[in-house]
Symmetry: C2
Subunit: 133 residues, 2 copies
């Protein structure tokens, strides 16, 4: 398994692992039931510490992206609703609000932002198609 980790990024390494796994699942590169490498093994592959991988796994389990079975391993979970789904949807709305503010300071009106949204959506679908091939 390979994940794009950049130790010089301002984003914490464990967060990079979390985001990369979420993206791989969203793209269909990782499917429910797939086995994740052991903490020490993935740490070795990414040349980072096992504790850092463990923290990423804990966050991914909290978000119901993976399932952890003590002594057996960790696996990609079958999609099911999160207990705090409503709160996370509201968090998404808050991030959209941030985009509206940012767009204003870039002298971009709401219609242009909406168009950027749709362009990005098309690119995302394209990426996902290629990833599954």
């Amino acid at each position: 398994m390979w994940l794009p980790i950049d130790p010089r990024s301002p984003k914490p390494v464990y967060q990079q692992v979390v985001d990369a796994v979420k993206e791989a699942v969203a793209k269909g590169m990782l499917e429910p039931g797939d086995r994740m490498p052991a903490v020490r093994e993935l740490a070795s592959q990414l040349t980072i510490n096992h504790n850092t991988v463990a923290r990423a796994y804990q966050e991914l389990e909290r978000d119901r992206v993976i399932e952890v079975l003590r002594g057996r391993g960790t696996f990609i979970a079958t999609s099911r609703p999160c207990p705090d789904r409503d709160a996370r949807v509201r968090a998404v709305a808050a991030r959209i609000r941030e985009l509206l503010i940012e767009a204003h300071h870039l002298q971009m009106n709401e219609e242009e932002l909406l168009e950027l949204f749709q362009v990005t959506l098309r690119e995302w679908r394209q990426e996902r198609r290629q990833a599954q091939a």
Copy 2:
């Protein structure tokens, strides 16, 4: 001047100041030419350190939100393009991508996210109308 600062938030205080000012400007609550409080004065009002306010002001000046005149004060800038505008637009697109990934894990398809976008846009316009009144 009042800004919603939460010292217990994981978001750095200086960043909260930056975001709050940007939001106030985007809403029209602060207009070009308006004077900002002095660093020590705003620090006193928010019960934070003047260095923290100074850092926020520097970031706001870098983003062309305010204009700083040594010895005179700081003022809301007239909107004008940023030198690194393209990079910031690309950053917005990257944040949209993150929303698409998050939406997938919330079992929300792209159409639902688009609808959430439009609903949030309507709410944003509503807020802005009230703020300007």
